[in-house]
């Protein structure tokens, strides 16, 4: 928890998107979702737009604001994307008489963004004579997704079904004998599923009989374990250091992976301590080998190995009994 040397807002600052325009054209409200807090800019599937305009309303805890020690309150909408180092801000204006709702809009230039931008709001005021102090902000930020067709939070994983031998991605050719390949570089980890490997995608998309389902789940589990192991190693090896040489939380999916898995890999250590420990172990290679079973355990947990394996064993058992009978 961050400590501020002055009083900040305790009440909630909420942000919601109210309208989206692409160039001059209003987009249907189905391009954004308040539940998912996502704007999907690719719903119209055009690549020739120049900018999008996003209209928002922020709701402030007005009673607290009135009674608090803050002057010159302003509300600022902030649009950023790490991949392009883009940062745009827009000042919101109060609407109505009680200053509870602040509205405004911000422009997102396509040339300055690539995949997922984050939209948040900051409340700024003069505190104890110091202007520009951040006194609050939205906790639940919005994602503006330039590649999504529907406004849902992207999964932590992309699945690309492609024939390794004949597909357009030439770099996959050398792997044509593999049923799948996990790629952990880039915005999101991707599992490339080889449709040229006979039976794999049919099996994964199969339903039907219990035995079929059990095998499918086992395969899915194996792929998932592979993925979790790969993303964990990738996240640990890409850690960036601050000026003092301490590792920093990496952001994006790597952040989620580390925060989720470290508690299983280094049980009993929390947060930044676990991050420093894992970084030190990897860098110095001492105790790194000993951690491998824990990493595989953590990956397996996430892939629900135990449950799927259990189901599979039960089903196989039952089908063997049935065939013997």
């Amino acid at each position: 928890m961050k400590v501020f040397p002055y009083r900040t807002l305790a009440g909630e600052v909420a942000l919601r998107v109210t309208a989206v325009k692409q160039d001059q054209k209003d987009l249907h409200t189905s391009v954004f979702s308040g539940d998912e807090r996502v704007v999907a800019l690719h719903q119209v599937e055009r690549d020739d737009w120049t900018y999008a305009r996003i209209g928002v309303t922020a709701t402030l805890p007005v009673k607290e604001l009135d009674e608090g020690p803050w002057q010159d309150v302003s509300v600022v909408l902030v649009l950023t994307e790490k991949a392009t180092n883009a940062r745009t801000t827009a000042v919101l204006r109060p609407r109505g008489s009680d200053n509870a709702e602040w509205t405004g809009r911000i422009r997102l230039w396509r040339a300055a963004h690539r995949s997922q931008a984050e939209l948040s709001v900051s409340v700024v005021a003069t505190v104890d004579g110091v202007p520009g102090r951040i006194i609050g902000g939205s906790e639940d930020n919005w994602v503006v997704d330039l590649t999504a067709r529907t406004p849902v939070r992207r999964r932590e994983l992309q699945i690309n079904e492609v024939d390794f031998a004949t597909g357009s991605e030439e770099w996959l050719r050398p792997f044509k004998d593999a049923p799948w390949i996990v790629e952990t570089s880039g915005d999101l980890p991707t599992v490339h599923l080889n449709t040229g490997f006979e039976g794999v995608s049919e099996l994964l998309n199969s339903g039907g009989a219990p035995l079929e389902r059990a095998v499918r789940d086992m395969l899915a589990t194996q792929i998932a374990t592979d993925i979790w192991t790969a993303v964990f190693h990738s996240a640990v090896s890409d850690l960036e250091l601050d000026e003092e040489g301490n590792p920093e939380w990496p952001g994006g999916w790597r952040d989620a992976v580390l925060r989720g898995m470290l508690s299983d890999v280094l049980p009993g250590m929390s947060g930044i301590d676990a991050l420093s420990e894992i970084h030190a172990r990897r860098r110095e290679s001492s105790g790194w080998n000993e951690l491998q079973p824990r990493i595989s355990y953590a990956a397996g947990r996430r892939a629900k190995v135990a449950r799927n394996l259990g189901t599979a064993i039960r089903v196989l058992d039952a089908s063997q009994k049935a065939s013997k009978a």
Binding site: Y51, T84, N85, R114, V124, G132, S168, E169, W171
Partner: protein, 295 residues
Amino acid sequence: MTDKPEPLPDRLALLSDINAVKHIGMGVRSGRENPPYIELGRQVTSLPDDDVRLRVEPVRDLIDDVMHLYPPAERTRADAWLAPRLHATLRLTRREAADEAMWNHLALAVAPDYLVWRHLPAKGKDGLPPMVSASRFRGAHYTQGFSRLWWAAELFRNGADYAPAVVACGNQDVLNTLLRLDIIDHRPTAQAMIRLVADGVARTGREVNALATVANAAAGTLLYDVLAEDDDWYGDALEAWVAGADSAPVVSRRRLPDGPADDPVSAPAVDTLAERFRELFQDAPVRGRTAPPEG
């Protein structure tokens, strides 16, 4: 030492991380082996072939020139020369530059010899021969050998004026420290920090580190965007610049080229922040500095 690629590809393309990484071995990093140029040619994903910006030749000419202009002993000075010229030659949007696969391609298939020339250390570590760090071939925007130069030019230019980017690239501590800070994504913040460097207020590695630390820490409670408001950015100038690539002459080797004609950063905003950073810096602990300088 690494040879110039033969055959040299005609066009920039995308080389996925997976394919890039497998060629960044000790042999390539130490300059004792060439990357497998022919094999690399088969592993790339092509980009639209009607885009003049993606021609390899103008970029490769720049690389040849920079290695000719600077003797190996002065190679760190080459960054300030190359960064604005690379930026002005490629004419990329940030959207395009954010694709690391293109930088991978540049690093391995177009100019690995430059990376070895520029980044090979004098001594090896742990009994190994001297090797270029793998992150110069494939890495974040502030470490990869080419994208760091492009992003430095992009984030530190003041509209069409690359001069602040030249200051940034002329000091390795600035390039290594400031380029990785998120706060420089706010244009007045970037310009204010460069002004302190240009004025000689923060010059040494320790001073630049201290400046980065105080400015970054203060951003935890202060919203610089409000203290020093920048004008809205419009994409038109960039679009025109990209479109003008067709008819643009080769960038000057002597004069500093012009960047996209974005509006310059608001001057009062830069003044405000530069003053603020100056005050913060004077009170900052700098290793090796016994008393705060006068002021």
